[in-house]
């Protein structure tokens, strides 16, 4: 689903590199593309001629600088707090259920159908019920994040456990390992790449659920701030918040991707993204 080809991992011999024209051009590719996008944005903004309808990049930038020194920090902190709590609960529950399912077949035969029944109901669909249950509060995004984060990591961990080489398990058993020892020392390490890929998927959907929940059912956070500024028609600030959401989401994913590559460098599955 996402581009995670581990090109950097290829063995490479470091030769002192000459600064060639091609190399410089290559460095300029991304800034050039960025410049083109910003220029296009500016052109559209001028063509439309309405600073509310399409705020020019310069205005958004000044709004963003202003926000960084003002409200934005609180919003970011509120959002990250929602995310941290909801994600810890959701991913933790998902992981625990998956591990327990791997250990106890009876539990799996009960949990798995429930997951398959609930999973198609997206977190978003829970928003109205969550608002009803919790009122407009931080509990709504936390619940939504919890729900969204639960399934990808569960499904991936179960898949990871299923693909463990049965020979390894048999070997460990033959050598007298207890079921618990097999779980912690054979099954889980072997499933780790899947678990981490699931954790990353979970974070992605949790981020989306967070924004949606904050937009509709919260009184703090980045999503809530979007509509707050919309009330004042401060669209340059709305744009600044939108871009902040993008940058933060990107940073979080990059962080987890780096972690994933680092922890499971040994694994050929390290770059896989989901178990489907």
């Amino acid at each position: 689903m996402k581009d995670g080809t581990p090109t950097a991992a290829a063995p490479r011999i470091d030769v002192p590199v000459a600064i060639t024209a091609a190399r410089v051009l290559r460095l300029l590719e991304v800034p050039a593309a960025l410049a083109v996008v910003v220029a296009l944005w500016q052109v559209v903004s001028v063509a439309v001629g309405n600073k509310t309808l399409v705020p020019p990049p310069s205005l958004v930038l000044t709004a963003w600088v202003e926000l960084v020194h003002g409200d934005l920090r609180d919003d970011v902190l509120a959002s990250l707090a929602h995310l941290a709590l909801g994600y810890a609960l959701g991913a933790g529950t998902g992981l625990a259920l998956a591990v327990l399912s791997a250990r106890f077949a009876m539990l799996e035969s009960i949990v798995d159908p429930f997951v398959e029944l609930l999973r198609p109901i997206s977190a978003i669909a829970w928003i109205p019920l969550a608002i009803l249950m919790f009122g407009i509060s931080a509990k709504v995004p936390v619940f939504l994040i919890f729900y969204a984060a639960l399934f990808p990591i569960f499904v991936n961990t179960v898949a990871g456990v299923k693909q463990v080489d049965p020979q390894l398990v048999r070997a460990a058993r033959a050598l007298g390992a207890s079921p618990r020892l097999i779980l912690t020392h054979v099954v889980m390490p072997s499933a780790l790449p899947f678990v981490l890929a699931g954790a990353r998927l979970s974070l992605g959907v949790a981020w989306m659920a967070m924004v949606a929940a904050e937009l509709t059912g919260s009184d703090a956070g980045l999503g809530w701030r979007l509509f707050w500024y919309q009330e004042f028609f401060a669209m340059n600030k709305v744009m600044a918040v939108i871009l902040t959401i993008g940058v933060l989401g990107f940073l979080l994913d990059t962080l987890l991707r780096g972690l994933q590559a680092r922890i499971t460098r040994w694994s050929p599955d390290a770059s896989r993204d989901d178990a489907r």
Partner: protein, 260 residues
């Protein structure tokens, strides 16, 4: 999947839960804000009879299909070019990645401003959500194609456009269809989010064609009907199951050789 015999513990537990739930709600005599199984069935009968459920579902589905089409229309060509022409891919990759990180629903204030409340704003959100899986997967598909095929076509005198159309696009098709499945799932998730946000934001009576999301908002704030809310959630889940099934089937019938 689990074999049939293993369904027994689940069925027992599920049935016990439903019965206990119903019994609990009945014994509490506080049925206003707690959904209960029989109430959900009643809500189903009621909303199907007055047609509101079917109309709303149809409206949402139409938006998803149109938004999905728009996403494909822009996403597939961009992705193929990004994957096939390396410098373009390197230059646009980070930009696509950061735009992708913006939750589609975050655009709703801008979309409402640009396109209005009559459903087009939701369409924008859906198209935005559907766009990125197409780009990413088409790019991946086009990047991984066999260069020998391209070189062979070149050597036989094919121009760049012909190579793209006759060699690159077909080779990338399995990846594109895998992307389409993700796109469709994203689109269905975000239509509900967009309609919910619009329903909460836009309280005037003339909010265009009401979709499932708006129906949920009015059910929550106006009618206060919890059972109907649960019913709509179930409908959303069932539809996303069907969508996934349909996309899988499409994938299999269009690219029987593909294994992604």
């Amino acid at each position: 999947m689990i074999d049939r015999r293993a369904w027994l513990p689940f069925s027992v537990v599920a049935a016990a839960m439903v019965i206990a739930w119903q019994a609990g709600v009945v014994s509490m005599r506080q049925q206003a804000l707690v959904p209960y199984p029989v109430g959900v069935v009643e809500a189903a009968v009621r909303t199907v009879k007055d047609g509101s459920l079917l109309t709303a579902t149809a409206n949402s589905l139409v938006r998803v299909l149109v938004g999905f089409g728009i996403g494909a229309l822009f996403g597939i060509p961009l992705g193929v070019v990004m994957g096939f022409v390396r410098p373009v891919g390197r230059a646009l990759g980070p930009i696509v990645d950061s735009l992708r990180s913006i939750a589609p629903i975050a655009w709703i204030p801008m979309a409402l401003l640009w396109l209005g409340i009559r459903g087009n704003a939701a369409l924008f959100i859906v198209a935005y959500a559907a766009f990125f899986p197409f780009v990413i997967n088409a790019a991946q598909g086009a990047r991984l194609i066999d260069r020998n095929l391209v070189n062979a076509a070149r050597a036989l005198g094919a121009g760049r456009a012909l190579v793209l159309r006759a060699v690159v696009l077909p080779s990338a098709l399995p990846a594109i269809l895998a992307g389409a499945r993700i796109s469709m799932a994203f689109a269905w998730g975000s239509i509900i989010a967009a309609e919910l946000a619009m329903g909460i934001k836009v309280t005037s009576g003339t909010s265009g064609a009401v979709g499932l999301g708006q129906l949920m908002v009015s059910t929550l704030y106006v009618r206060r009907d919890v059972n109907a809310l649960v019913l709509y959630m179930i409908v959303i889940g069932v539809i996303s199951l069907f969508i996934d099934l349909a996309m899988r089937r499409l994938q299999r019938s269009l690219t029987p050789w593909g294994h992604s």
